[in-house]
């Protein structure tokens, strides 16, 4: 058994990443994510890894992609303004299929906003921040322990699907300190990208066998001499202007995530078995919602919590399965109604969707949730 330690969410992100095999971190200081860079600067040399503080967030994500192409598991961490700066190269990572993890510890925006206050206003940016249609996997933890275990999963998904994974934290969880007993690192399942060496049958570096979605990655810098580009390319890795091939590529990139949604999607369902009202929330918001559910249950109300852990792709299927039993859905999030749009899409006209949101940097309390439930009943 591992011993119990007092750990901050941001620190747990680093420890989880190291457990997952992350040995390269490039970043730029920004509140409220800076502790991730600081701890990486200490921990990576201890593990034989590498830390570098770059000149800005544009450089940070670029260095991370370069390091990953060169064979390392790599990560960066930032917050809203820096996340905005990284968007172009997140698209590059999706297009060139370079695995990496980008941590965004959300704070209040837009612009410099409220630098030290929590928000979940980057939910849609995590999906649509970079231009063009592209795949996105985004995960959002709601506790310190989950930050650790989910970070391992973030790297596993990134390696398996060869795509950047957004680790969507918020200031609530990032700066939360909890007693946690971390799992034995040897008990963790760690994925690595599938590699193909000097593949005689098919030398194409982006060759995808029939019925599969993800090309095996040829090691870069070991003699394969292939080309990586952010331009539309064919299986050879060289730029093309052929619209059929470009369409095939971009559709495959999207399909590799959409068609594997059952594997990628994880949700937490708390007291949902007989729930007639589902409170939907993600990340740090779940902490208030869970207390509210307990209080509502104690008062005899059939309320449950439905929490997407995988926030992109949105968990359509498990949510749809709950719709027949629900009279009401309450979406609670620290923004002006972003996941709400996904909720409304899935709920359609079957179940009314209510909303409790906040953009002022204060935390939605259990009482706020209970008051909203009462208003809905009334």
């Amino acid at each position: 058994m591992s011993k119990t330690v007092l750990l901050q969410g941001n620190e747990a992100a680093v420890e989880g990443a190291i457990a997952a095999g992350m040995r390269f971190f490039a970043g730029y200081p920004i509140t409220p994510s800076t502790e991730i860079a600081e701890r990486s600067a200490i921990r990576l040399p201890e593990e034989g890894g590498k830390f570098i503080q770059m000149e800005d967030e544009l450089a940070s994500i670029a260095a991370v992609l370069g390091a990953s192409a060169a064979g390392m598991k790599a990560m960066t961490a930032t917050s809203g303004p820096g996340f905005s700066l990284m968007q172009e190269n997140i698209g590059y990572g999706a297009m060139a299929e370079i695995p990496c993890v980008i941590v965004d510890v959300q704070r209040v925006g837009p612009s410099t906003g409220l630098a030290t206050s929590p928000s979940q206003g980057d939910y849609m940016q995590a999906k649509w921040g970079t231009h063009g249609d592209h795949p996105v996997i985004a995960l959002s933890p709601s506790s310190v322990l989950e930050t650790y275990t989910l970070m391992v999963r973030a790297f596993n998904l990134s390696e398996k699907y060869r795509t950047p994974v957004i680790f969507l934290m918020d200031e609530i969880v990032g700066h939360l300190r909890e007693d946690v007993s971390l799992p034995d690192p040897n008990s963790l399942i760690i994925n690595r990208r599938k590699l193909s060496f000097h593949d005689g049958a098919n030398k194409q570096c982006y060759y995808v066998p029939e019925g599969e979605y993800v090309p095996a990655m040829k090691p870069f810098g070991q003699g394969e001499r292939y080309n990586i580009t952010g331009l539309a390319h064919d299986e050879s890795g060289f730029p093309i202007n052929d619209h059929d091939k470009a369409g095939k590529l971009i559709n495959r990139l999207i399909d590799k995530v959409e068609h594997n949604a059952d594997h990628i999607v994880r949700v937490e369902q708390y007291e949902m078995d007989d729930a007639e009202t589902a409170i939907v929330c993600f990340g740090g918001t779940a902490r208030s919602v869970m207390s509210a559910v307990q209080a509502a249950r104690a008062a005899g109300h059939k309320v449950g919590m439905f929490r997407p852990i995988t926030v992109w792709p949105f968990p359509d299927k498990p949510l749809r399965a709950r719709l027949p039993q629900l009279r009401n859905i309450l979406m609670v999030e620290h923004n002006h109604g972003q996941m709400l749009l996904e909720m409304q899409r899935v709920a359609g006209r079957d179940v009314p969707v209510h909303f409790l949101g906040r953009v002022d940097g204060t935390v939605i309390s259990p009482d706020d949730v209970l008051a909203k439930l009462e208003e809905m009943e009334g």
């Binding site: 390269f24 490039a26 040399p45 201890e46 593990e47 034989g48 890894g49 590498k50 570098i52 770059m54 000149e55 800005d56 544009l58 450089a59 940070s60 670029a62 260095a63 991370v64 992609l65 370069g66 390091a67 990953s68 192409a69 060169a70 064979g71 390392m72 790599a74 172009e88 190269n89 590059y92 870069f220 810098g221 070991q222 003699g223 394969e224 001499r225 292939y226 080309n227 990586i228 580009t229 952010g230 331009l231 060289f238 730029p239």
Partner: protein
């Protein structure tokens, strides 16, 4: 069947290249291939083809990565040096060569250039400097001389230009040099020195863009532009033997600054050695 050099080190299925007639970029790309070939063929030099990584950004220059038959990565506009930093730091045994343009490395990517120089990250940066944004059709760049015309400077450029080699020196580059497309032999030798240099090295190679820069500014044909280079860009030995007054308006082709500061990845390796946890 092209020449042996081209056959060995370029992806001939992708040639002829896309550049305009007379564009200097093809010559610079050949200089890079020739420098690498001479280093690989020299048994006294420890340069291995599989350890060479070509990194480029976006723009005319940056198409070079796709033509050179090495590990190659064509990245985003301005970010080639930042990608290269990640590659080099992740695997310091690689010879990472960045092929970039004047806009790519001194406008949108200027910050990465000065910081890689300051860190003394062991990269070799070859700037294909044609004084214009060619890929987008002739807008002024940070190296367009003041007064010159571009599509976005129709009445003459008010900006003052960068000297990229001096910019890198000023940022602390341990190796900074200038080449051109007329003095081929000298430029190949400079690139060879740059590749062998352990720390950060930059070679600002003056290209020619007859299509967008030359035509708009009445510089004549590619041949005329090369003649200008012949007369105004002077290799080291001759430059320093010229009387001071003759040097006015002329520029040196050769190494401008050199230093043996400790290289970044080697310094970091020492730190890891000192602080690595014993398992």
């Amino acid at each position: 069947m092209p020449s042996e050099l081209i056959h060995r080190y370029m992806r001939i299925d992708h040639l002829p290249q896309i550049w305009c007639p007379g564009c200097g970029n093809g010559t610079i790309m050949r200089d890079v291939a020739a420098a690498i070939q001479e280093l690989i063929d020299d048994p006294e030099k420890d340069i291995n083809r599989d350890n060479i990584v070509i990194v480029s950004g976006i723009g005319c220059s940056s198409r070079a990565a796709g033509y050179l038959d090495f590990n190659s990565i064509h990245t985003t506009h301005g970010r080639a040096i930042a990608f290269a930093t990640g590659i080099k730091f992740a695997n310091p045994k690689l010879n990472v060569i960045v092929l970039t343009g004047d806009g790519d490395c001194s406008a949108i990517g200027g910050n990465h250039l000065i910081h890689a120089a300051r860190r003394n990250m062991g990269l070799t940066v070859i700037a294909f400097n044609n004084n214009i944004y060619g890929m987008t059709g002739g807008q002024y760049s940070p190296t367009t001389p003041d007064g010159d015309v571009a599509t976005t400077a129709p009445f003459g450029n008010v900006d003052r230009p960068f000297d990229i080699a001096n910019l890198a020196s000023g940022a602390g580059a341990s190796f900074s040099a200038r080449g051109d497309v007329y003095h081929v032999r000298e430029t190949i030798d400079i690139i060879k020195e740059a590749i062998q240099h352990k720390g950060f090295s930059l070679v600002d190679v003056y290209s020619v863009c007859p299509t967008y820069y030359g035509r708009k500014n009445h510089k004549g044909s590619a041949v005329d532009m090369l003649r200008w280079q012949k007369e105004n860009l002077i290799p080291t030995a001759r430059y320093y033997s010229m009387p001071e007054e003759e040097r006015a308006g002329k520029k040196l082709i050769g190494i401008l600054s050199y230093n043996d500061y400790p290289e970044y990845t080697e310094e970091y390796a020492k730190l890891v050695k000192a602080y690595r946890k014993k398992k």
